[in-house]
């Protein structure tokens, strides 16, 4: 980034963001030998030595877990929650195709035909939605 200059607004935001505290860029947090937390790689150190398990991997996508559910995804395609259809109550009756449906809802063909009977507008009446035990 040192040799690149942001020339539009988005690039500028990225530049600001990467330099900001809490940015999603893995940074080494322990020095070799377990010394005090250091920021950045000390001069002369091999960056590979700074690897810390748990920091070197990116977000974890729980699809393929032993308890997946569908049609519902805990995360979007990037492993985060930003791309989920939100709030989920708005999505219960009319699935939005531009986002990830996060909720596994009961099937209204067989198991729970009246699941939404008490809930004319889920975003307002969401407390009336039942938990179904087939």
């Amino acid at each position: 980034m040192d040799h690149l200059k942001a020339i539009n607004r988005k690039a500028q935001r990225i530049q600001e963001h990467v330099g900001a505290p809490g940015a999603a860029v893995p940074v080494p947090e322990v020095g070799p030998g377990g010394g005090p937390a250091a920021s950045g790689v000390p001069p002369g150190a091999d960056p590979g030595d700074m690897d810390v398990v748990g920091l070197e991997s990116g977000p974890h996508i729980p699809l393929g877990c032993s308890l997946v559910f569908a049609p519902g995804w805990e995360v979007d395609s990037t492993g985060g929650t930003a791309g989920l259809c939100q709030p989920v109550e708005r999505d219960l009756f009319d699935c939005h195709l531009a986002c990830f449906w996060p909720a596994h809802v009961p099937d209204q063909l067989n198991h729970a035909p009246d699941w939404t009977g008490k809930c004319a507008a889920a975003q307002k009446d969401w407390r009336k939605i039942d938990l179904i035990f087939p």
């Binding site: 935001r13 963001h17 809490g22 940015a23 999603a24 947090e29 322990v30 070799p32 030998g33 377990g34 010394g35 005090p36 937390a37 690897d51 810390v52 398990v53 748990g54 920091l55 977000p59 974890h60 729980p62 393929g64 877990c65 032993s66 308890l67 997946v68 559910f69 569908a70 049609p71 519902g72 805990e74 995360v75 990037t78 492993g79 985060g80 929650t81 930003a82 989920l84 939100q86 709030p87 989920v88 109550e89 708005r90 009756f93 009319d94 699935c95 996060p102 909720a103 596994h104 063909l109 067989n110 198991h111 975003q123 969401w126 407390r127 939605i129 938990l131 179904i132 035990f133 087939p134």
Partner: protein, 566 residues
């Protein structure tokens, strides 16, 4: 397209496809089924499941499952197919089917995470296409803990497509014609049936062998107990198992101690052992429903060990891994703590059952470089000693002996803590408390030393065990101006994440739920003021609106153990 119209499209496709069954084109499956001899089962089910002259009942005779699998089938028959069953009769039928149409220990073992309700990463290595077809909607554990004839696997697919027409588009059938250069033009569901028929057939050597000699388990007696309760650390104690009047039924008295803080727990429970080895129990502290823990364990061949998981919580997210070892004589179970910094002195306790008492300094050996200064206390279940590691003690694990007996686990001497691992590396919590129960996430921290090579995550790393850390939450920055951390919930001093309330949040843009993803950060502080951090990724997501666990009944917020008061 709405979800309803997708269903309608799927139903149409289903009716058209019924005209071209693939099963009929295959060679007839001549596998002999398992005759049904239970009169209650026959009388309850023969309205739909015909019995032939050999005692074979349609469908039922041609599949084998776990107790949970059979319980789920019976619930479906009651809720969707108008089967009429009293609870007592249903219990007897589950027992009969689990014993006679069950699965053998070797068959269950790869999929035991399913019945032990573990939220783990697991991949079905044998065939990723089959995994994709099935795990679009549910765990592969549900699949690999069943055995069926080919006709039954085909009927299973047909049942899915009838009840859930969307399964065609979710994974059962490819979208559109096969690629021009494709050599295998079958639909995924047909590939799956072929694979499952080969890998999980009704008749197997394992089941033939196990079922031929299966007998009521003989487990009465005293057992030593050891385990690990995530977030709380190791537990040690004893279990008294008494046989009940019926074969395979047992009563338990459990006593154990949390090694880190000395908290003592006494529980009473009951258990049924299905198929000669599948322990299903429930225990309580002081008879309180709030403290109930379900027990799912396997009795190992040889009858000397029982192991598995006890669990509670709206999503079965709490509870220890437990191992019971028969304790007719002295049993040494393990150590706490399992690590000692070179040049330091600490109290180390050896836990067990029926341990010899009156032991002295010379009776306990912690290995080279570690001196036993004095025995602080020695009882039949634990011996505590003050031990000192010399400044020049070589880093590494030492085998420990108590009165000549090897102690499971090792005492590791180390010079530095180099990294902190937070487990689970990827956690998941579910919003709740408004309309649905909360799904908690428990984290814990383990310390590691880099070992002789000085490099992290290599084979010589030293596991220093469970450590106390300061817990915090940091933003996992996925989008600009990410603010999940303000909404998702809070992490307590014990690493227990408590998710925020469910429902739309008017304070968030677009009334988003309190969903989000954050880092869970553990900070360990050493004696010299040094700090080492580790972190894990946490997803906080929406509740499940439909629950399939066969034992679960309506649970609303406030009616399940929350464990937030410790």
């Amino acid at each position: 397209m709405t979800r309803q119209s997708i269903h309608a499209t799927g139903a149409l496709a289903f009716s058209l496809l019924l005209a071209t069954p693939t099963a009929a084109q295959e060679a007839a499956d001549t596998t002999t089924g398992i005759p049904v001899t239970n009169q209650m089962l026959i009388e309850s089910c023969d309205r739909c499941h015909a019995v032939d002259e050999d005692g074979m009942m349609t469908r039922i005779s041609y599949m084998r499952k776990t107790p949970e699998g059979w319980q789920q089938s019976i619930r479906r028959m009651v809720t969707l197919n108008e089967a009429e069953l009293e609870p007592e009769a249903a219990r007897d039928i589950v027992r009969y089917l689990s014993d006679n149409h069950g699965i053998a220990p070797e068959e269950l073992r790869p999929g035991r995470f399913e019945v032990e309700r573990r939220l783990i990463d697991w991949s079905y290595e044998a065939d990723s296409d089959v995994e994709n077809t099935c795990s679009q909607c549910h765990s592969m554990g549900r699949v690999i803990t069943q055995r069926r004839t080919r006709e039954e696997w085909n009927l299973l697919m047909a049942t899915h497509r009838g009840y859930y027409p969307l399964s065609d588009t979710q994974g059962f059938r490819r979208n559109g014609p096969p690629a021009p250069d494709a050599t295998d033009t079958r639909h995924p569901m047909d590939k799956a049936v072929a694979h499952l028929t080969g890998e999980f057939p009704l008749t197997t050597d394992e089941w033939t062998s196990w079922s031929a000699t299966m007998r009521p388990p003989r487990l009465a007696g005293t057992w030593a107990l050891k385990g690990h309760d995530p977030g709380r650390g190791p537990i040690y104690g004893t279990a008294e198992i008494a046989a009940a009047a019926d074969d395979g039924n047992f009563a338990t008295e459990l006593q154990y101690t949390y090694a880190r803080d000395g908290e003592q727990v006494a529980r009473s429970g009951q258990a049924i052992v299905y198929t000669g080895y599948q322990w299903r129990g429930r225990s309580f502290e002081g008879g309180s429903e709030e403290t109930a823990l379900r027990e799912v364990m396997m009795v190992e061949r040889g009858w000397n060990e029982i192991n598995g998981r006890w669990f509670a919580g709206a999503y079965d997210e709490f509870g220890p891994d437990v191992t019971l070892v028969r304790a007719d004589g002295p049993v040494v179970l393990g150590l706490h703590p399992v690590s000692l910094r070179s040049g330091s002195t600490a109290t180390v306790t050896v836990h067990g059952a029926n341990l010899p008492t009156g032991l002295g300094v010379g009776d306990v050996d912690f290995g080279p470089g570690v001196e036993v200064v004095r025995v602080i206390e020695g009882g039949s279940q634990a011996l505590s000693a003050e031990v000192a590691a010399s400044e020049d003690a070589a880093p590494g694990g030492r085998d420990v002996f108590l009165s000549g007996r090897p102690v499971p686990g090792r005492l590791t001497v180390y010079d530095t803590v180099d990294r902190i691992a937070v487990t689970p590396e990827a956690g998941m919590a579910r919003l709740g408390g408004g309309n649905f129960p909360k799904g908690y996430a428990q984290f814990e921290a383990t310390a590691f030393s880099n070992g002789p090579d000085g490099k992290p995550d290599t084979g010589d790393d030293l596991d220093l065990g469970f450590v106390d850390v300061a817990w915090s939450v940091e933003e996992y920055s996925a989008v600009f101006d990410d603010d999940d951390i303000e909404y998702v919930g809070s992490l307590d001093d014990n690493g227990l994440f408590q998710p925020a309330v469910d429902g739309p949040n008017p304070d968030r843009i677009g009334q988003r739920n309190n969903v989000g993803d954050v880092w869970v950060v553990a900070t360990w502080s050493g004696p010299g003021g040094e700090e080492v951090r580790g972190r894990a990724h946490l997803i906080v997501t929406v509740p499940l609106y439909m629950r399939w666990e066969p034992w679960r009944v309506q649970e609303l917020p406030g009616r399940f153990p929350r464990r937030t008061d410790r």
